[in-house]
Symmetry: C2
Subunit: 171 residues, 2 copies
């Protein structure tokens, strides 16, 4: 008797859930990296659409948001908290001094490297603890708002800005 | 003794994990709906950036991709398979006849309504079965490529195009 693929099921495990979420996050990171490899510095400095954020600003923004995950996930000190002022709390047209593109690329790579290392060292159950920005009573009512959920949310956020960054690729 | 929030953990359950993924999908749907409410028909007919897809094309594209989930998740017949030819297999500049915006909005709403109903009727373990497009030997090696993973992937895909649709909102 042959096995029918629709009869197969894998017993869901905590490790499997984590693998699903982390692999999707890694996929989005690799898409950003693919764009960084493909686009010239000049293209990255360009607006993604008229009057919209440049590639450089979006790279700083994505780096700041990923760096913020050290706090949300309880993984210790952030690497580049100074990015928030420039890339999260203020829009690009505030005209603040930005790090160079070379520096931003280095920060982006470093944040992902250290984050990956620390996430790999987490105990599976740690992912199901509340993240740092949720109040205890809210978490008791909505226990799905845990650390793994933050990673899902940040992965979607990366997808959102990748959709804008691709507009820098010439047709 | 008071409870320290970082000591709290919720036993990860299959139901909790499904809730995390489905609620993120619903959040992206509600963002699309918010944009559809906010943008005029004229704005939706506009290109999201010079030479890029219009809002109408992206709405058709998102509807076609969500409609495709009936197949991937083993939830029966698709509602609007005819959309694939116009919004998935051909680019907008192929100049194919499109349904009207009113029709596309209706299809989008209907797909999400029926999909939500059918997803809610799934048994938790069903989500961990292989999706319809993966081969048995591939699934045995990579059991995280299940139906719930398709929903994560499609949620990120929605985020990607929402990042483009927001460019239709006047600053």
């Amino acid at each position: 008797m042959s096995t029918n693929i629709t009869d197969i099921s894998v017993q869901p495990s905590t490790e499997l859930f984590i693998k699903m979420v982390v692999s999707n996050w890694e996929l989005q990171n690799s898409r950003v990296n693919g764009l960084l490899d493909k686009l010239t510095d000049e293209e990255l400095a360009t607006e993604t659409a008229p009057g919209r954020n440049s590639g450089v600003y979006l790279l700083g923004h994505l780096t700041a948001v990923s760096d913020g995950m050290f706090t949300y996930l309880g993984l210790g000190e952030r690497l580049y908290p100074q990015l928030d002022h420039i890339f999260l709390k203020n829009p690009e047209d505030a005209g603040l001094d930005k790090p160079s593109l070379a520096e931003l690329k280095e920060y982006w790579t470093k944040v992902n490297e250290v984050l990956t290392e620390k996430m790999n060292a987490m105990q599976p159950d740690d992912w199901f603890k509340p993240h740092s920005a949720i109040a205890l009573d809210a978490f008791e009512k909505e226990p799905h708002r845990n650390r793994l959920n933050i990673l899902i949310n940040r992965t979607i956020h990366q997808g959102y800005h990748i959709g804008q960054l691709v507009y820098l690729v010439k047709k």
